[in-house]
């Protein structure tokens, strides 16, 4: 696919994953990175989460690096226990490297989006997709108003425009196609309001398998990478 074609389809090399906290941004980011790496792409995953120190993608650095994914987090390394807002400037490398697919896993809510502002110029130069994760099972984003409120807040803080929606409604391992369809219905209403297309649908494989075939958006199998087996 040529660069022009990619732009037309709004498929960009740099993908920024945002959303209300707890919607599943990190699980989606890690799953998408693993999917793209499996497709033979050169992938870099940057963990921009400086809001919360639990369940960040850097915790899975070993697994991701084994899959050939370049993991970038704090300038002080992946030490998961550091409660410091130190983001590595190393992120700029892959953003400007036209051969690398980049996923920026941004922290939750408007507060988490602040970390993105540092890299606004870079992503505007490289071109980007700003993805907004929707999980209708989260009380704060279960309604259209709630989903729009967080979407608008993230656009306001980042100064960037959301270009695609990610449907990620789930109940962990108990997720059914019905759960995903509820999220899909909410995403459609967001699309009607803001004209933003549904870019991805993510879920556990068993739930995705039961979905109707004509849905909008690329499907991403969630690997439950962030969930320990005993959870």
């Amino acid at each position: 696919m040529s660069c022009e074609e990619r732009k037309k389809q709004k498929i960009m090399r740099v993908k920024i994953v945002t959303g209300h906290y707890g919607t599943g941004k990190t699980e989606f980011s890690v799953s998408l990175a693993m999917k793209m790496a499996a497709e033979g792409k050169k992938v870099a995953l940057a963990d921009l989460d400086i809001v919360n120190v639990y369940f960040r993608s850097r915790e899975r650095a070993d697994l991701l690096e084994q899959a050939g994914i370049h993991v970038i987090s704090s300038s002080l390394g992946h030490q998961s226990t550091l409660d410091l807002p130190a983001i590595s400037a190393e992120i700029r490398g892959p953003i400007h490297d036209t051969t690398t697919e980049v996923i920026l896993d941004v922290g939750g809510d408007m507060a988490g989006t602040n970390a993105l502002v540092n890299f606004k110029k870079d992503v505007e130069e490289s071109g980007y997709e700003l993805l907004y994760v929707i999980n209708s099972h989260r009380p704060e984003t279960s309604t259209l108003e709630g989903a729009l409120k967080h979407l608008d807040g993230i656009e306001m803080v980042s100064g960037l425009k959301v270009s695609g929606l990610v449907v990620n409604s789930h109940f962990l391992r108990d997720t059914t196609a019905q759960d995903i369809l509820e999220g899909y219905a909410l995403a459609q209403r967001v699309k009607e309001e803001r004209g933003i297309p549904i870019r991805y649908i993510s879920g556990i494989p068993s739930a995705l398998a039961d979905l109707p075939k004509d849905l909008e958006g690329e499907q991403v199998e969630v690997g439950m990478y962030m969930r320990e087996d005993w959870m």
Binding site: Y21, G22, N52, V53, Y54, F55, S80, T81, D83, N135, H137, R138, P139, S142, H170, F171, L172, D174, E228, D229, W230, M231
Partner: protein, 353 residues
Amino acid sequence: MAKVLMKGNEAIGAAAINAGCKYFFGYPITPQSELPEYMSRELPKHGGVFLQAESEVAAINMVYGAAGSGVRVMTSSSSPGIALKQEGISYIAGAELPCVIVNIVRGGPGLGGIQPAQSDYFQATRGGGNGDYRLIVYAPSNLQELVDFMQLAFHKADYYRNPVMVMGDGMIGQMMEPVEIKKMDEDNLPEKDWATTGTGGKRKPNIINSLYLAPDVLEDHNEHLERKYKTIEENEQRYENHQLEDAEVVIVAYGTTARIAKTAIENLEKKGIKAGMIRPITLWPFPEVAFKELDEKTKDLLVVEMSMGQMIDDVKIVNEGKRDVHFVGRSGGMIPTPQLIEDAVMKIVEGRK
């Protein structure tokens, strides 16, 4: 309310509001800051008051004052913050006031770290504050229990006029799980005729106090408290038994650790080794009844904690020397793996041969 996906810390807030909590006084600390954040946003919508105090010491004393007026009030913190609250907790216990204290435990001692731990067991069950007092301590192991125990905590606090603690490790505060916030029936609560709500010129003022200068009066007060604690010990022990029948080794674990132990027990079963578990749900009163019902075949107890070993003392007390008591754990914010527990059980079983 339908099932929703919530993070532990915000689920605590939602459950507290559902239980009629109207006042929250606290001070932020990782890994529980989402809770005051949630309360600051949601409590005013429900006619309540959120106040960020200037310190943990101030927060617990605000709780003391609000509890004296008979309202449902809570505070929350994490380990070193709870350490700061101990004086106030002792005063509240001495003055016999109901309140709920949430501790989302992180590694210690001192400032320690910010990852999950269970090293505040002594602090919760032995009291960091002074004097003969006790807290009821609930230790949920999943988010549904967490939300259910929040209302239970407010209820028991009112029923016994005693502070109640809900203790979860950092993982319980941070993990996401589906929960359903239900309302429990609370018909059997006594009138709060002790509360300082104004006399209206019709009665003598109620006085909230923990100072008794006359030793004989203070001893009477202590004996009264002790009778209350005995009643709580008789009526409030909670625990879960898991596959105790024919178990060679019984694991004793609570909270997140009990979930890891369950996975270990499943894996051991596949290897033909029968292990079971007693999961204390109340850390005080410690569920000694559970140990009286153990199978004759059980020769060993394996205590698993996210600490260097604190609950093991209570296990040894209730075991009365009948079985060998072993320990395995991780500390400092490291989380035990099922493998660690399996290896510890295997070592016990093989050592017996």
